[in-house]
């Protein structure tokens, strides 16, 4: 059914061996092949630029007005690489180990090792592009620590590392448009995937300014469309982040892996009211110097600064002394939820915890803290109106990163031939929990280091596309047109936004930071009912031949409603706790996640079936390099 195609041999040599044996295409023949890239975040831009540099024709699609707006831009804290510049015992192997352990032994060893291996040259690449990483006074690159590790391997550009990395990739991409190798389709959304005789042959695109829908053909399609945390409505993601491209590909036969593994970021800003459209993230790097605490007394109404030391519970330091405030995200988020559920939460809605810089400021001085996190403190002030130099920040967990995504093999190719999935849109590297600063890394490694080799290897086996439009493309185009018509003509009473909010509430309550069987079963019914209501009561104003943000939103919510049901199904089937997936029925005596390696040492791989049902396949995971062990940060 599917094969992960992991090359044989010792783990340290797999990627070198793969590259040595991968098929090549003569430089003068490469221009005959066309590749479509959907998405212009770090994974999409870097892949498009790299493939174009090799000589392939690349058509790039983004729903944004400019590639530079993609949500990679919002990543704050940093990017990991095993350079060992700090001489603190780091190595490719240790990074590999940390990532496997951080992912709670639910990722594919060979992929993770490769990510750590490729991290080395990635920093070189970014510096060469002019990414202004932080420097020591000596002129050498600087590092800091992130959660779940005991070394400093995170490279950063103040609190805007994602923006700076994306500028590098965007500039590389834009440079290729000038050469004429890349054709850029901005304000274009992918509506469907064209699959012809089991091979991915193009997409259906829609021009969001004019409504024009077209068949776009290519020899291979790369989806780099990011994560779907926005399905929870309140999340750290941008308003327009969506799952439509990967969901449409899934409905065309691409397998979806581990859909329910969504990371809740421990340091975002708490919700203040119903009107709120998103939760803003505060970088995890703040946990290097900030101490997390709640009042020991439940319902304590006093101002933070007037609560004396002995009445504060620094619960992460207490529960996880060796990692303290830098415990991994899943553990930190769950610990915060525990405090909030017990009534120790703080803030107007009692839904947050404190992140306190008092001690760091006393130790290092305000100026030093300002240098490290200045723009984050400013951002906090802009959003909340509060000064974090004077009083602790209020933070709370929020839906953030999708560890799940389309299933891919070692070549980042899905089970559909010629469909490659890169970055957060795939499932491969983070297991059941992603470590901080590994997301920029994975996006870049997929785009700069892996796809150029694996895509060429795939294309080398085939004739370049002959330009006739297939019947299948025309059918797909017609289906997309009917879908848009359908949404416009329901003419009900509820907006797409309202449906999205209801969807988010169901998922937060019943398939969020913790899950249990009874609630998941309820969610399943509620989601089905919500989907039926959507097709009965949706109200979309305007027409399809103009700029119509509501129509765009409706299409995305429609796809989210489908994906949500798969998420719940996935969470229901997995009768264990691992990483971000915490089933209340499966916990240790002290409330930690209890894995069941005997029955669940696999990644759930879902195939869509007619009638909106799903069929489960399993990719069994082998841990040969790193023996399975219970994850402990105590």
């Amino acid at each position: 059914m599917f094969n992960s195609k992991v090359p044989p041999g010792p783990i340290q040599e797999k990627w070198t061996q793969y590259k040595a044996q991968a098929k090549l295409i003569n430089p003068s023949n490469r221009r005959k092949y066309k590749v479509i890239v959907v998405g212009t975040g770090l994974a999409g831009s870097s892949a498009a630029a790299s493939l174009s540099e090799l000589g392939f024709q690349v058509d790039v699609f983004t729903f944004h007005e400019s590639p530079r707006r993609a949500h990679s831009v919002a990543a704050q804290g940093g990017i990991n690489a095993a350079k060992d510049y700090k001489n603190d015992g780091d190595s490719v192997w240790r990074m590999f180990y940390d990532t496997i352990k951080g992912g709670d032994f639910r990722s594919r060893e060979a992929n993770v090792y490769r990510m750590a291996e490729c991290s080395l040259s990635l920093i070189d690449q970014a510096v060469a592009q002019g990414v202004p990483f932080a420097r020591e006074y000596s002129g050498y690159l600087s590092n800091r620590s992130f959660g779940g590790v005991q070394v400093s391997r995170t490279f950063y550009a103040r609190g805007q590392t994602g923006q700076q990395m994306l500028q590098g990739a965007y500039q590389a991409l834009i440079r290729q448009t000038e050469v004429g190798q890349v054709k850029l389709f901005t304000r274009h959304e992918m509506l469907d995937l064209i699959v012809d005789q089991g091979k991915s042959k193009g997409i259906i695109s829609r021009d969001l300014d004019t409504g024009k829908m077209e068949i776009q053909t290519a020899d291979a399609v790369l989806l780099a469309t990011g994560g779907y945390g926005k399905i929870y409505y309140l999340s750290t993601l941008a308003m327009n982040c969506n799952a439509s491209a990967i969901w449409r590909a899934h409905l065309r036969g691409a397998f979806f892996a581990a859909p329910s593994w969504t990371q809740f970021h421990p340091t975002s800003l708490p919700q203040l009211g119903e009107y709120q459209s998103k939760l803003t993230l505060m970088s995890e790097s703040l946990r290097n110097d900030g101490r997390i605490w709640v009042p020991k007394k439940a319902g304590d109404e006093r101002a933070a600064n007037s609560i004396p030391e002995y009445e504060r519970d620094y619960y992460l330091e207490r529960k996880y002394p060796s990692f303290g405030n830098l415990a991994p995200r899943d553990i930190s988020s769950r610990a915060a939820k525990e405090q909030i559920d017990n009534g120790n939460g703080i803030g107007p809605l009692k839904n947050g915890v404190f992140l306190d810089f008092r001690d760091a400021i006393q130790r290092d001085g305000k100026e030093a803290i300002k240098k490290r996190y200045g723009n984050l403190f400013e951002m906090y002030k802009k959003i909340t109106g509060m000064d974090a130099y004077e009083e602790p920040m209020m933070i709370s967990p929020s839906a953030h990163f999708s560890m799940g995504g389309l299933w891919v093999d070692y070549e980042l190719m899905s089970n559909i031939q010629g469909l490659f999935v890169l970055g957060e849109a795939n499932f491969a590297d983070h297991g059941a929990n992603r470590l901080g600063a590994n997301s920029l890394l994975q996006a870049c490694v997929d785009g700069y280091s892996i796809a150029p080799h694996t895509v060429m290897n795939y294309l080398a086996g085939m004739e370049p596309l002959t330009k006739t439009e297939s019947v299948i493309g025309k059918e797909a185009l017609q289906e997309s047109k009917s879908r848009i018509d359908r949404l416009l003509h329901i003419k009900g009473r509820k907006t797409a936004e309202e449906f999205h909010k209801s969807l988010g509430k169901i998922l937060y309550q019943k398939c969020g930071l913790s899950r249990e069987r009874k609630q998941l079963l309820e969610a399943k019914e509620e989601l089905k009912a919500l989907q039926e209501e959507f097709y009965r009561e949706l109200l979309v104003p305007g027409s399809a031949e103009q700029i119509n943000f509501e129509l765009e939103k409706a299409g995305r919510v429609e796809d989210y409603l489908g994906l949500a049901q798969l998420i719940v199904e996935d969470a229901l089937v997995r009768e264990e706790s691992c990483g971000a997936h915490f089933r209340l029925e499966h916990q240790t005596e002290d409330g930690e996640a209890k894995r069941n390696d005997l029955d669940f040492k696999y990644v759930s791989v879902w195939e869509s079936q007619p009638g909106g049902t799903f069929k489960l396949h399993k990719e069994h995971l082998e841990f040969e390099a790193i023996p399975l062990s219970e994850r402990s940060y105590k």
Binding site: P132, Y275, P541
Partner: protein, 243 residues
């Protein structure tokens, strides 16, 4: 909280636009400006009216997608803030707000508050990069950059490409946007090789797009959400005369 909104409505770039007035009585002072418009749009849709088209994506001030003029303030009455980071607590209860798009010849209005800023991408396309292919890079620490230079380069590179500088300028000049990119790359040793060629072709493109000349009033820097200094325009001019 109550606000009276006068919003620029324009169906498309070909038609003329005008202000229309909406009164909202049920606002919360913690709402952001885009959240206020979400709220208005929900009402308009239910009344069978066309919602207000406005750009907004990350809503944390980094993607550069949002931005319009509020009571004559580019982006926001707050200093160095984007529209999405502006909350209703910045306004008085009962206040009247005029919302209109960024105005510049090079930024055609697409619909209501949405404008076309692709001219900025076309400036970057004319050399706003270092021509290094994937796979060519030397070891990162073989290029030493002193701390202050790296910090200055970062300051310039922090531009989010929102176009506020253009909208604030009486000549609709893109000098701050272009200067920031030229300065970012010229400061770094990696970018020096192409500096001359870069400044010539980017400046030529800036003129070709219909942006005006810089008369050095500093209005751009005053509204820039990233607080980018006009010293980068001086760097651009220096680089230009040197080339």
């Amino acid at each position: 909280m109550k606000l009276t909104l006068h919003i620029w409505r324009q169906a498309n770039s070909a038609l003329k636009g005008k202000f229309e007035t909406y009164v909202l009585n049920d606002l919360n002072s913690h709402m952001s400006v885009p959240e206020m418009l979400d709220h208005l749009n929900e009402k308009l849709i239910k009344e069978g009216k066309d919602p207000v088209a406005f750009d907004s994506d990350c809503r944390e001030g980094i993607c550069g997608q949002c931005g319009f003029v509020i009571n004559g303030h580019i982006h926001s009455p707050e200093k160095h803030a984007t529209t999405c980071q502006t909350h209703l607590r910045s306004f008085k209860d009962g206040e009247e707000l005029y919302l209109e798009p960024f105005r510049a010849k090079a930024f055609p209005i697409k619909k209501d508050l949405c404008i076309d800023r692709t001219a900025l991408d076309r400036i970057i396309a004319k050399g706003g990069y270092i021509s290094v292919n994937t796979g060519q890079a030397p070891e990162a620490n073989s290029i030493l950059i002193n701390h202050e230079t790296a910090e200055s380069a970062f300051d310039a590179a922090s531009c989010i490409g929102c176009g506020a500088c253009v909208a604030s300028c009486k000549n609709a000049s893109a000098a701050l946007f272009t200067g920031a990119k030229i300065s970012h790359l010229a400061l770094l040793p990696q970018g020096k090789m192409e500096a001359e060629k870069r400044v010539k072709s980017m400046v030529a493109q800036m003129d070709a797009e219909g942006f005006g000349a810089c008369s050095f009033t500093g209005a751009c820097s005053a509204v820039c959400p990233q607080n980018i200094s006009i010293s980068h325009i001086i760097t651009m001019n220096k680089e230009f005369w040197r080339s």
